[in-house]
Amino acid sequence: MTMSGENKHNSFFPPEDSPISVPPAEDAWSLMRQRLDTGMPIMKVKGSWLRSLRWLAPAAVVAGVTVWQVVYKPLRRDTGRVVGERVSVGTGERVRAAGASGTGAGKREGEVGRNRD
């Protein structure tokens, strides 16, 4: 059965023209409410900690970004400088790594290899 074919119901017994004595809606609703409270209870937000979470979450994000800006970013810049250089094991001399800008890098790399042997 489709619902589209059942449009007659609203007009069959219009509420204002009820053919029989209808018990008060308030009484029926109070019974319904009891059933709803049992079967579909309302989940109440307990305490203020959940409410404070609304402020805590953005604050945590801002704090996180600030920490990242202050601590992590300068560290990355420093690391970038170090990556370009390596220390020769044998001589303790600082050499430029392959691919780093500058001249004579390949040669020094070779020297490091020989020292290991």
């Binding site: 619902m3 119901h9 069959f12 017994f13 509420p15 009820s18 053919p19 319904m32 709803l36 309302i42």
Partner: protein, 184 residues
Amino acid sequence: MLALDLQQVIQGCVRNERVSQERLYKEYYVPLFCMCRRFFENDHEAIESVNDGMMKVFGHITDYRPEKGQFFNWVYTIVRHTAIDKVRASMRPSVLSGPYDMGEVVPETAAGHNPIAALERKDLYILLDQLNPGTRVICNLYYIEGYSVKEIAENVGLTAGTVKWHLSESRKKLKSVLESHFNR
């Protein structure tokens, strides 16, 4: 209820808000109660049936799709099916299944004429109260709710012949009521 209002109320019901649920319940209470009262002999059972159905409505309100039809019709269909299930569950099989199988005898509807539709609305309830519970349900489904014999048989769990027997019984028992009505 205005269309915009209805949307807000439905959304409130989706959020399980009591205020919205109360508005929806009270808006549809009278037609739903009248429908359930035709299935049951007393007000208490009718209210219980309305509430059973409305629990399903509130529990499955997210399943409603506007393209399938009006919201009221969706609610009405759920509550009616709940009432039918309640009738079927509460009755002993012997109450619903008549002693005779009418086979292929077609109910006398006089070329589509519905004798019950001609009655005053108030008389309809007096008339239904004179029938036994099983016949009452089938009479209600056939003449008022517009179910076909086949649909009643499927919904109530009877053979088509038994449904026809109930319809025949209802006409026999109500003959005097109908005659007095038409002789008025």
